[in-house]
Amino acid sequence: MFKSIQMEERVLKSIIHVFLISGAITMLAPFIWMILTSFKTKKEALDSSIIFPAQWIFGNYTTAWNSAPFFQYFLNTIFVALVCTIMQLITSSLAAYAFSHMNFFGKEWMFGILMGTMMVPQQVLLVPNYFILKQLGWLNTFLALIVPWSAGFFGIFLLRQFFLTLPKDLWDAARIDGCSRFKFFYKILIPLSTAPLMTIAIFTFVGNWNSFLWPLFVTNDQKFYTLQVGLSNFSQSEGTEWHLLMAASTFCVLPLIIMFFMAQKQFIQGIAHTGSKE
């Protein structure tokens, strides 16, 4: 009896592993195919029975890199994503501090309204914001890419929840020692909040790096193209030069993949956290 249960356990574990491994292969296969193709000749890329290139052509990467101003696209994207992330951290932590530690007129009411902005799909904002940016003269500038996404309710909410879990005596003790509101914020609150700040930073950075519809709408000058808009333009102009397209796709996804491997714990915990909060 005991033996048969053990046997059953072992068989079950093997079945689970078979499922998980075939799933993992399905997840990885497109990446592997992308990388393999990026080293092939144009002719090899058109014949899917050829798995490995006869000769590994590293030159595809330089050809792809030089066929469009990818360096400019990268710079733009890194700049926009970094500035947005820093701004988002500042605006959300300041607002979350007010919502968690201060008593002000219309607090609950305002929190509710801000929460409502999360319900609105981004696409509804597209056309009106186009006009607003146009009136501000910001179309085709970095301001259009950065400012509208420098604050958001998600970050405020996440940080407020975290600030509320910190002991109340913290502020009372600091106040007795003559600590000002602002000093308490940057000397005590911020250093204690690295985990939620990291989550917001990752979400904002990745969201900005991968955002597409917005930059497509508010820029039509190559000088301000982000990587995603640049890549989509490149794909339209190259058509079926698959070996070059795969090389470009590879260097466009690589930075985030490296970042993900370095900070995978924060990524995964951040996402797991948002799911269990609602």
Binding site: K13, I16, H17, F19, L20, T26, M27, L28, P30, F31, A45, L46, S48, T91, L94, A95, A98, N103, F104, F105, I113, L114, T117, M119, V120, P121, V124, L126, V127, P128, N129, Y130, F131, I132, A151, G152, R181, N210, F212, L213, L216, F217, Q228, L231, S232, S235, W242, L245, M246, S249, C252, L256, F261, Q264, F267, I271, A272, T274, G275, S276
Partner: protein
């Protein structure tokens, strides 16, 4: 309440802390909602836009337009085709990963990889794989011995192709969320079920399923909302074709606004989409309200 206590009661410096976030959110996330209502009842060129008040005619234009209904149908097809598969597969994988498996970290990373990579790059890769002589058809031919379709050029297969690719892309996100939900189920409940002699299947339906229902609900609403907003894969892989078979709502909106410069009509469409998403969220909430167990 006298004036003095009103001023004493509140900390007025709070507004200084709120100001940066509020200024941005009000200008770019809240006012635009009202502004888009104004735009949707006007019509005109890009420079003298607000000269002509056209009432609700933009809305009736959208609702009586056959392209809108194509787009609506295609979007519903996409949502109904992708959300249930997505939920089933991600819950299944999360349950497998929750069985005290070796290499859990590695699997989590692999399943999550497509989530962080940009949809544009991934769309190019899948477009390449979906070619008539591409790797997808090679593998299918190897497994079934039958020639595969020309996925993205075929009005019947283009949408399933986009659905398959999107499920692949989004799966890992929901796996992580389900896994977190499963790990919150107290182990003592499983032990209790075991003592009562409940099998795996019974334990799942009577213990796991009710306890993770808030997570399932969250995943269901979030994937429905985001599926209604599908855009980049359509833009990159099919351009809405062939013969509008993959023109989804946001792609139609993009065409109206960006290509045809019909901003009023695009705004009306955006509002209709907003109402649809709001309605679906509300209905899902009502329908599932008494089946979701919060503890």
């Amino acid at each position: 309440m006298n004036k003095k206590s009103f001023f004493k009661k509140y900390e007025w410096s709070a507004w200084a802390y709120l100001l940066p976030a509020l200024a941005i959110i009000v200008t770019f996330h809240m006012l635009p909602i009202l502004y888009s209502l104004v735009i949707s009842v006007h019509s005109g060129g890009m420079t003298d836009y607000f000269k002509k008040d056209v009432g609700l005619s933009n809305y009736s234009y959208i609702i009586t337009n056959k392209h809108f209904w194509y787009a609506m149908w295609n979007t519903v097809y996409y949502v109904v085709g992708s959300v249930p598969i997505q939920i089933f597969l991600s819950l299944f994988i999360a349950i497998l990963l929750n069985q005290k498996i070796k290499n859990l970290e590695m699997y989590r990373v692999i399943y999550f990889l497509p989530v962080i990579t940009s949809i544009n790059a991934i769309s190019i890769v899948w477009k390449y794989m979906y070619q008539k002589t591409g790797i997808v058809n090679s593998v299918l031919g190897f497994l079934t011995g039958m020639p595969g379709p020309d996925w993205l050029m075929d009005t019947f297969w283009a949408m399933p192709a986009i659905i398959i690719m999107s499920v692949w892309k989004g799966l890992g996100y929901n796996v992580i969320i389900f896994l977190a939900g499963l790990q919150n189920v107290p182990p003592s409940l499983y032990d209790a079920a075991k003592i009562d002699g409940a099998g795996r299947w019974k334990t799942f339906w009577n213990v796991t399923w009710p306890l993770i229902s808030p997570t399932t609900f969250f995943v269901m609403i979030m994937s429905t909302i985001s599926s209604f907003q599908v855009f980049a894969q359509v833009y990159m892989m099919t351009g809405g074709g062939p013969q509008e078979s993959t023109t989804v709502i946001i792609y139609y909106l993009y065409q109206l606004a960006y290509v045809e410069h019909k901003m009023g009509k695009a705004s009306a469409l955006a509002f209709i989409l907003f109402i649809i998403i709001f309605g679906i969220t509300y209905i899902q909430k009502r329908v599932t309200a008494n089946r979701v167990h919060y503890n």
